[in-house]
């Protein structure tokens, strides 16, 4: 993803997790904002371009997938914002003309893409830009560096290259790059700023609905995960309880004989099931009931031994 000129920063590094897409869009639209809001996630980037409070471009791209625009971009951005645990938002104010140029970079018509510079007559191309009064951006780049020249009606507005924060008025880096034999170029054209302002995506995209749907999906997913987690915990607890019950059962039967099987079943039912084993008070009542029954069957000494073993198991399980 190429860098965009930063212009005048309004907000930088705002945590996306604390933001609502609807609030961001509403605030920028109501403030007659011109410029763009850039959302940076670990694996994706989203950009909303505004011109005098009108949403003119939406752009979304993941590191792997294709770039999306308009409704799809807005939906993907909302999903990403709702689901992401990390991400930042930067908002930069730009002039009307630069906003148009940024729009051309994101969604303009591509006249040239990855064209090797040595194979092009650059003078002719620049003349064509001038003669056809093009609006847009000429991007010159190598594998290591890139530079952009923004045009309005065929005249250069300014120069921007990687590493710089703002638009330069002198060509500098772009001239040096143009002389590199490995350099390539892209040429993007855009409609004029006035034409750009003729439509507002907010008229056709219901951001609130998209956001609510994304949040609802996120909530549903969270609920599903919570349910799965609860189920998993329940199964784990059930397994733990089953094992514990089995161990207690075998100790009791070892001491009192097979009649102990029925006693355990009855006392567990009375105590409200094996869940009582993890509750201090209820497990003590359960143990007391086992002891009471055992008094009819075995010696006091053996009862003490048995109780000690069962109590140790219960304590271990409760830890």
């Amino acid at each position: 993803m190429f860098q965009l000129p930063k212009g005048n920063p309004l907000f930088e590094n705002l945590a996306v997790t604390k933001l609502k897409l609807t609030d961001v869009v509403t605030k920028l639209a109501n403030g007659s904002f011109s410029g763009y809001a850039s959302f940076t996630f670990p694996n994706a980037t989203g950009i909303l371009v505004f011109e005098a409070g009108k949403l003119v471009t939406t752009f979304y791209k993941t590191t792997q997938g294709p770039s999306l625009s308009d409704f799809e971009a807005m939906t993907a951005l909302a999903e990403q914002m709702a689901n992401s645990d990390a991400g930042t938002m930067d908002v930069y104010r730009l002039s009307k003309d630069l906003t148009m140029c940024v729009n051309s970079l994101l969604q303009g018509e591509v006249l040239y893409r990855s064209q090797e510079l040595v194979l092009i007559d650059i003078k002719t191309l620049l003349e064509r830009i001038k003669n056809e009064r093009m609006n847009g951006c000429l991007r010159i780049y190598t594998d290591e560096k890139s530079a952009m020249i923004f045009y309005k009606e065929g005249n250069p507005l300014g120069f921007f290259h990687d590493g710089s924060q703002d638009i330069d008025s002198s060509p500098g880096e772009s001239h040096q790059l143009a002389q590199d034999p490995k350099a390539k170029l892209d040429l993007y054209t855009s409609v004029s700023a006035d034409e750009l302002m003729a439509h507002d995506l907010l008229d056709v995209i219901n951001v609130a609905k998209i956001w609510d749907a994304a949040v609802a999906r996120k909530q549903a997913e969270r609920n599903r995960m919570n349910r799965e987690l609860a189920d998993k915990e329940r199964i784990q607890a059930f397994t733990l309880l089953s094992d514990l019950e089995q161990q207690i059962r075998s100790i009791y039967i070892d001491y009192v004989g097979n009649v102990g099987r029925g006693i355990i079943d009855k006392e567990l039912t009375t105590a409200g099931g094996s869940s009582c084993l993890l509750d201090q008070e209820r497990s003590e009542q359960f143990l007391a009931a086992l002891e009471k029954a055992a008094k009819l069957l075995i010696s006091v000494k053996k009862i003490a031994e048995m109780k000690e073993k069962i109590a140790a198991l219960l304590n271990q399980a409760r830890m």
Partner: protein, 258 residues
Amino acid sequence: MELLLEQLQGIPTIYLIQLAFWLLAGVISFMFSLGNARIWTSISMGFFLILISQFYLLNKLFYTPSMAAFTYVTGTVAIMLITHGFLEYYVFCRTFEITGRKQSVYLSTMLLLLLSWIFLSINPEPSMFTVRNVKMVENAIWVFLTLMNLEIIRKIYFSIRDSTIARAFICFGAVFVLIFLWKGSELYLQVFQWDRLWGNIAFQLDLDEIAFDRDIILDDSENYHGRINLARQVYDYAGMLAAMAVSGTFAFLYRLLK
């Protein structure tokens, strides 16, 4: 004092030995009832009451018809308590339920004995016949409930045969076999009027002479001398052995549950 000693000497030695063993059995069973689970209280209190019921053996010392009848009623209460205890134990083996309190057992027993005493007090003083009838009723109940207890004990044993205490129930089985012989032999003698109480009645009322005058056979004991003698021997020795077995069983039970 001399008279007391003289009368004491008049009591057959076998009865004195039997009484001594019942005294031992009574003390052990009562002590056992104090320190163990509630269900054992009914059983051990029942065996303790046998001691009281055996005081009739000392009739020569302080005989009154009411006292004699009371000792027999106590004997009836004893087997009822024992049966109740074994029934509760059997119910425990099947349902694993233990209910009630020790105090309730002691209080109920005392109440039953008190009511029996009141019953005897508010009615005419028992005649010799009445006393003998009460004794017969006691023996009949003992014989019937002893057989029932043997069946209950068999079932209990099979429910808990791999438990420590199971062997004690074999001992109880032996105790009830001896008690059946003891009480059964006396009932046998009573049914055919070969018992000592009937002998006393016949002697005091001169029934032999009346029978002779009216040509009725009231005493045929001479014709069945052998079986009467055997029944009396069984009564004497089974009673003594039963007392010994009860003492031994409770001592064994105490050791198992210690």
